[in-house]
């Protein structure tokens, strides 16, 4: 409590007045008539040096009235949550956080959590305001409201979802709600299983000072849990396209070994393979199923393990779709010797992520030919006549990999792709020096990213004896430089596509790069980058959002898409700017319209970390999110939150009550004093 006009507290000195009055033995002027002084005369006269307060009740009443009036004039102000409202206990702002991540579906955790949260909500008074926050990876609030029935209804309808636990998201939302509250008391109640994996985002998450945090744990020890956390696919290509080999990873997060666990592979809802494995405690066991024959198109697959208390992670859903190869046109100069592209062809022939389909031609290709390919590799070929068509090809999304060796001067490229190369000069001969090296490589570029880690590829061993001196175009960036600073590899975005130029040949004459181990991955990554190829995931993690725009392009949707959820519901969304939230585990089907059949399949699985049911100490969590001791307000200080006008008025209204009580006390004092005075008068007058 503090005072708006503390100077009036000096009036407390007036308390001395009733003290003096009650200590003073003022003698009456009028005599007291008494039948006889016979007995009074017999009593010897005695003095008392110590003054005593007389009429204690009257004295206390008068002193209390003086004190209350003084305090009322000083305008007391209630502050903080500790300040009690005159009409009883202060109203509360309560935020009930209920964990609905996948781990809450284990056993009867969810039922117990709902019961506990319902008990908390039902115990609130009508003056309290509450918010129900259902959280997993994201937090959603119902309220704040005084209608507690609404919150209970929302709680009853909620179910666990296949998403990860993120306590930070819940506490941040609670902190935001409490920071704007004008109620004096703030409380947070957390109902959760305190899964340790959910505490990763708690850093810098703090509840407002003055907030009390209560926790209700529904964790039930550490139950045995088997989970299928990953699936690896190997799908045949070409004539072998129907072959599907599936491997899976089975994790036992419990402390007991699991023996004779049956792991089954389902393809298009039919169980095709089944194996039995032993999974030691806290271990992961890889499982490989014998290859099966599957339809050549996209198939729905599932790997399941035996049921346990947490059923959500007992199945891993995946979509096995055939991988289309990247189409590559390799162009050689008309007079180039045979085998000039040997190293390039061999490098692109290996690997299936993605597979490359390479066609080699000599001379300038026709524009119609270019449309059949994803990228064009100009291997030391003069592209002067076809420069315009090639630029159009790149602008429409194609990729150009121009290798400027002994036969290609680069000048046609300067005129067709000025954004890439502003100028090209004759070859620089570094043979006498034993060859140049690459000194600067942009390892943050997707092409070179794979070589960033130590011992992931050494470009310094390659020797470059000759190379062309290129000038950077206005949109180009240098991915690698020779040791004299001259650009070795350039890249520039051209329209929707990309163009890349290499300032030396790759036929093992001007340099020995094709003989280096880094050559094959470098060529493959460059080709993949230029083709803008990305591997389609076999499944998504629940809680992530799927951009429908890209999907619509792949399934050739025009205006709208129909999304069939695993639970059976269908949502129709516009193509442009729409995204679908993958909240359910299972298979989504994206169709070109509500009435269309077929469509793209999307498999969704719960996050892996939800399978680890290890609990964190609730006190640890409370300590992590509670305000530091220095921020905890004292009884005199309150949380620095903006107060509403009504609340400010209520906190200042105490003076009114003080004056009211003082008035009542003075009334009682008057009655008692008059009665005492009347008695004294009667006694003094002898009643006559």
């Amino acid at each position: 409590m503090q005072f708006l006009a503390p100077i009036f507290l000096a009036g407390l000195a007036a308390l001395a007045i009733p003290v003096i009055i009650h200590l003073t033995h003022r003698e009456r002027d009028t005599p007291v008539r008494f039948p006889s002084l016979m007995f009074l005369r017999r009593i010897p006269y005695r003095t008392r040096r110590r003054q005593r307060i007389r009429h204690w009740l009257l004295f206390l009443l008068r002193a209390a009235a003086v004190a209350l009036i003084t305090l009322a004039f000083a305008r007391p102000l209630l502050r903080g949550a500790a300040a009690g409202a005159p009409s009883g206990e202060a109203a509360r702002e309560v935020v009930v956080l209920v964990d609905r991540s996948m781990s809450m579906s284990a056993g009867d955790r969810w039922d117990r959590a709902v019961a506990a949260a319902r008990t908390v909500l039902n115990a609130l008074s009508p003056r309290d305001r509450a918010t129900l926050v259902l959280f997993a990876e994201r937090a959603e609030a119902v309220g704040p409201t005084h209608e507690l029935g609404t919150l209970v209804a929302a709680l009853e309808q909620a179910r666990p979802i296949p998403a990860a636990t993120r306590y930070g998201a819940a506490f941040r939302l609670a902190a935001d709600l409490l920071a704007t509250s004008d109620l004096p008391r703030r409380e947070v109640v957390l109902v959760a299983d305190f899964q340790r994996s959910g505490t990763a985002d708690l850093e810098a998450t703090r509840l407002p000072s003055g907030t009390s945090l209560a926790v209700i744990s529904v964790a039930d020890g550490e139950p045995t849990n088997l989970a299928v956390t990953d699936v690896l696919l190997d799908r045949g290509r070409g004539a072998d396209r129907s072959r599907l080999a599936v491997g899976a990873r089975i994790v036992n997060t419990g402390s007991e070994d699991q023996r004779g666990v049956t792991v089954a592979l389902e393809v298009n809802d039919a169980v095709l393979r089944s194996v039995t494995v032993n999974v030691p405690a806290r271990s992961t066991v890889p499982v490989s199923f014998p290859a099966v024959a599957a339809p050549t198109g996209a198939v729905r697959g599932r790997v399941t393990t035996g049921g346990d208390r947490l059923a959500g992670d007992d199945a891993f859903h995946f979509v096995a779709a055939p991988v289309e190869p990247v189409r590559v046109l390799l162009v050689e100069a008309s007079g180039a010797p045979a085998g000039i592209s040997l190293y390039l062809e061999r490098a692109l022939a290996i690997g299936d992520h993605p597979p490359f389909s390479v066609d080699t031609r000599r001379g300038v290709p026709e524009p119609a030919t270019l449309e059949q390919y994803d990228i064009v590799i100009s291997n030391d070929a003069q592209m002067g006549r076809g420069g315009g068509a090639l630029r159009a090809f790149v602008e429409q999304g194609g990729g150009l990999f121009a290798i400027l060796g002994a036969r290609a001067s680069g000048r046609p490229l300067v005129s067709a792709f000025p954004e890439l190369i502003a100028g090209a000069a004759g070859p620089v001969d570094r043979l006498a020096e034993g060859g140049a090296t690459l000194s600067v490589v942009a390892f943050d570029h997707p092409v070179f990213e794979a070589f960033r880690a130590p011992r992931s590829g050494d470009f310094s061993t390659a020797r470059f004896y000759r190379y062309r001196r290129l000038d950077l175009g206005n949109s180009a960036s240098t991915l690698a430089r020779f040791d004299d600073g001259a650009p070795a590899i350039l890249e520039a975005p051209i329209g929707s596509g990309r163009a890349m130029a290499v300032a030396t040949g790759l036929e093992n004459s001007w340099n020995d790069l094709p003989l280096q181990p880094v050559f094959l991955p470098l060529v493959q990554r460059a080709a993949r980058h230029l083709a803008d190829w990305a591997e389609e995931p076999i499944s998504y993690v629940a809680g992530s959002a799927l951009d429908l725009a890209m999907l619509a392009e792949s399934i050739q949707a025009v205006d709208e898409l129909a999304v069939d959820a695993p639970s059976g519901g269908t949502t129709v969304l516009g193509v442009r700017g729409a995204a679908v939230q993958l909240d359910e585990a299972g298979f989504y089907t994206i169709r070109t319209g509500p009435s269309a059949s077929g469509g793209a399949l999307i498999a969704v699985n719960p996050p892996i970390e939800e399978s680890d049911l290890t609990a964190v100490d609730s006190d640890e969590l409370v300590t992590a999110v509670s305000a530091p001791p220095a921020e905890v307000p004292t009884a005199a200080g309150g949380p620095e939150v903006p107060l509403g006008a009504a609340e400010m008025e209520r906190r200042q209204a105490l003076w009114w009550y003080f004056l009211l009580i003082a008035g009542l006390i003075l009334g009682i004092e008057s009655i008692l004093a008059n009665r005492r005075r009347g008695e004294a008068t009667i006694l003094a007058s002898g009643g006559t």
Binding site: H25, T30, V32, R33, L37, R54, G686
Partner: protein, 297 residues
């Protein structure tokens, strides 16, 4: 609430007619409770009735026969042979009351009630008022109840009380064997009180002493320092109640106890009547005690 309900003296004080007060008090609780210990043979005329065959011709009133030429027989009522005399202290000290009833008021009610009660059982009733000296005397007679009540009704408090002188004169006045009820606040030493009523006792009177005291005299509930003025003498003395109220109560308590003990030893009935005590309660208690003493004697 069951049980006896007593009459508040403050309620009785609102009744102007003293006879009515006495009758209210006495009739309220009396139902053959009281029996006179002095049942005698004396006869007092009550009424005439016509002669009927079988009546004793000695009881024919010949004077009436002479005037009316008819035979009338005198009817006599049985009566005690006792006198009941109320000795009422009307000194100025009796004019004190911390409530609406002064000690003199209470003594009036009590005296009147006792007189009425005695008359109901055929005693002769009389009255003597006194202060410094005897003021008024109503001889005991079967026909003096009205006079007694009237006299009691108009007494005024005045003068300094002197028990010794008054009692000596009263002893001379009351010659027959009598029941004497002394109503006084007895502001005198116990020995002096005994000395004063000695002549009455020696003459064979059955003396009953009612000491009338106000609650404020017993409890001394004063708190403010003030000059205290003696109602009888007008003398004043400064009093700080805080310093002497306890001593006063002790002295007063001792005085009352000494009076009761010493009077009892002399065969004198003593009863301390507090003006806050209902009058009929005082009568009830007193008569019950008298009945017990009569059986013992």
């Amino acid at each position: 609430m069951n049980g006896p309900r007593f009459l508040d003296p403050q309620v009785l004080a609102r009744i102007d007619n003293l006879e009515l007060v006495a009758r209210t008090v006495v009739e309220g609780f009396l139902s053959g409770l009281h029996h006179s210990p002095y049942r005698g043979l004396s006869t007092d005329f009550a009424e005439h009735r016509e002669y009927m065959p079988g009546d004793d011709i000695r009881r024919i009133d010949w004077r009436v026969f002479g005037r009316t030429d008819r035979f009338y027989v005198k009817e006599f009522e049985a009566d005690t042979n006792a006198n009941f005399v109320v000795l009422l202290d009307v000194s100025a000290s009796m004019d004190y009351g911390s409530r609406s009833v002064t000690k003199l008021d209470y003594a009036r009610f009590l005296g009147a009630s006792l007189a009425y009660l005695s008359r109901r059982q055929r005693d002769r009733v009389g009255l003597v008022t006194f202060a410094e000296d005897v003021l008024e005397v109503v001889p005991a007679s079967a026909k003096h109840l009205d006079i007694v009540l009237h006299t009691i009704d108009r007494v005024q408090p005045a003068g300094v009380g002197s028990l010794e002188r008054s009692m000596a004169k009263i002893a001379e006045i009351i010659r027959r064997r009598s029941i004497v009820a002394l109503l006084s606040d007895l502001y005198d030493e116990p020995d002096a009180v005994l000395e004063a009523i000695g002549p009455l006792v020696h003459r064979g009177a059955d003396v009953i002493v009612f000491q009338i005291l106000d609650p404020a005299e017993r409890e001394f509930p004063f708190s403010e320092a003030a000059p205290f003025e003696d109602l009888e003498t007008g003398l004043r003395m400064p009093v700080v109640p805080e310093t002497l109220s306890e001593d006063y109560r002790t002295v007063m308590q001792r005085h009352v106890e000494t009076l009761g003990r010493q009077l009892g030893e002399r065969g004198v009935d003593y009863w301390m009547a507090d003006t806050a005590t209902p009058l009929d309660f005082t009568l009830f208690e007193y008569l019950s005690r008298r009945a017990r003493l009569a059986r013992v004697r």
